[in-house]
Amino acid sequence: MNKGYGKQTYPLMNVAGSIPQSKFAGLVAPSYWARLGLSLVFVAVAFLATLSLQHLFPYPFLFLFFGAVMAGAWFGGTAAGLLAVVLSTVLVDYFFVPPVYSFAVNATAESYFAAFVVCALVASWVSSSRKKSAEALSVARDQLELRVLERTEELRKSNMELQEREKALLHSQAELARLSRVMSMGELTISIAHEVNQPLTAVVTHGHACLEWLSAEPPNVSKARQTTERIIRDGTRASEVLGRIRAIFKNEALAKAPLDINRLIEEVTWFVRDEAVNRGIQIRTGLSASLPQITADRVQLQQVILNLVMNGMDALEDNAARKEIVISTRMNDDSDVVVSVEDSGVGFTAESVEKLFEPFFTTKLHGIGLGLSISRSIAEAHAGRLWAEPRSSGGAVFHLSIPIQQQVVDV
């Protein structure tokens, strides 16, 4: 059993390094008297060993006492070391220095004995100071270890805080992006309304003037003709404004990049989440897990899907029964990714389906009817399609399909 233990201690000591040593020092430390006693034991051992070995040497064999002094000083400290020196000196003087069994010292042995005392003192001093520095070192190591542990903990904490902060930042960035999008859409709406309204005002006003010129006695045909030309001019201008808006979405260099449409939908639902909650609308998604990436302009597709969802939400306004929007994705013929946005709202008749996509067609009180028209332009710019159909269970469903091999089509 003991042997087995002994075998195991070796690797343990090696692996553990300096730490057990310091713990051992801690164990020895306990009491002042115990340390002095330990010194006594060392000296006694050295004395007995020397006594049994003395007959082998022709001169006083004193070296084992140095070992006792060093051991006493090492384990017991300075006081224990000095005690060992005194004890050793007394014992050596009495038993080993001629004349033996007397405290007297021969003149011939004086220098030898003095050398022993000095050497013992030096050994005690060296040993105890080495011990002190070793202890100081181990304390320093322990403290260092403790500080490393503390620092590691601090770093872990600050790392967690950083992650929290980063998360909060990302959240607010996304919120900002949502707000700026909503605002830019609102601003766009106002500026479109204004830009289109000016030429339309001119058209209507010229129209009234034209009637006046024609109903004069006699009718002022030349003025009426002039006025009609202006009507044509201003009407054309109004349509050019719209063309320009469509062109913004159509011809603007599309920033196409590979994207995951499901991810995009998740972002959109995140954008409108608060709005949906406020209006008591539930948004569900049924996203196909096996969709390939498509190459598209992320912001524009986001606008389209956002527009479809917002339209759906507006359509739900008067339908108190079940307010729900379902966004789903699927593959179609291995060639297109299809996004469908369904709502359980007021819906529309089969006849008005195509009208939906005409500029200025709107069923909303505050809409100007450009959203779907622009959305369809965006779909076409991606070689895709946007269409609508009534939902069998009431409401409407809009489909957006984008080909996955579109880049090949472009080339």
């Binding site: 309304a193 309204n197 030429p199 001119a202 006003t205 010229h206 009234h208 034209c210 002039q226």
Partner: protein, 207 residues
């Protein structure tokens, strides 16, 4: 339909709207003068004839409501008809409270615009007539001597010649002569007429 020499001012930053308004006004026999900005209007010399202002509420630089305030501050009294592409209630309330004739949303119908313009021109015309009458009376009043003005003051409070004479320390004959002089200079046909004139003069010199 309108007084022949009246004129409608149009301030709108959109040239096609200006052009259309001027064509419509032309077709109903109204003279129009158009401006692209409120600053342009202010720096122009305008004829002193019955007029009104058709003003776009949304203008670059000084906005419509600001322009209205500026006109009021500088004492240019002209009826204003606001036109706007997207008017909001607070703005409408504000300009109507500040005395605008009408607030129309573009595109407007002929009837509402011309109705408002007619109302504006009539308002301006009667203001101008009233103004002309008052300034004529003022110039007549200026011709009275200080003694005659005292007599006029007392006559219009309803005092008899005898009482006036006592108050001013004059003979009744002298008061009678002054009184006839006042009637002549003010071109009053009766005492009631004179009292009315005196009221107008009084209110004018007060304001």
């Amino acid at each position: 339909m309108f007084s022949a020499n009246s004129i409608v001012f149009v301030v709108d930053d959109d040239p096609s709207v200006r052009d259309a308004l001027s064509n419509l006004l032309d077709s109903v026999g109204l003279a129009a003068q158009t401006f692209g900005s409120s600053e342009e209007f202010l720096s122009s010399s305008r004829p002193e004839v019955p007029s009104c202002l058709v003003l776009d509420a949304k203008l670059p630089g000084m906005s419509g409501p600001e322009f209205q305030e500026e006109l009021r501050r500088t004492g240019i009294r002209i009826p204003i008809i606001f036109i706007t592409a997207h008017g909001d209630v607070p703005m409408t309330r504000k300009v109507m409270k500040a005395g605008a004739i009408e607030f129309l949303t573009k595109p407007f119908q002929k009837g509402e615009l011309l109705g408002a313009i007619r109302h504006g021109l009539e308002t301006d015309q009667s203001r101008r007539q009233e103004q002309a009458v008052v300034s004529e009376l003022m110039s007549r009043y200026e011709k009275l001597t200080s003694r005659e003005r005292e007599v006029l003051e007392l006559v219009t409070t309803g005092l008899m010649n005898k009482e006036i004479a006592a108050k001013l320390g004059l003979s009744e004959i002298t008061v009678k002569i002054h009184r006839r002089q006042v009637m002549t200079k003010m071109e009053a046909t009766s005492l009631a007429d004179l009292v009315r004139m005196a009221d107008k003069v009084k209110s004018q010199s007060k304001s």
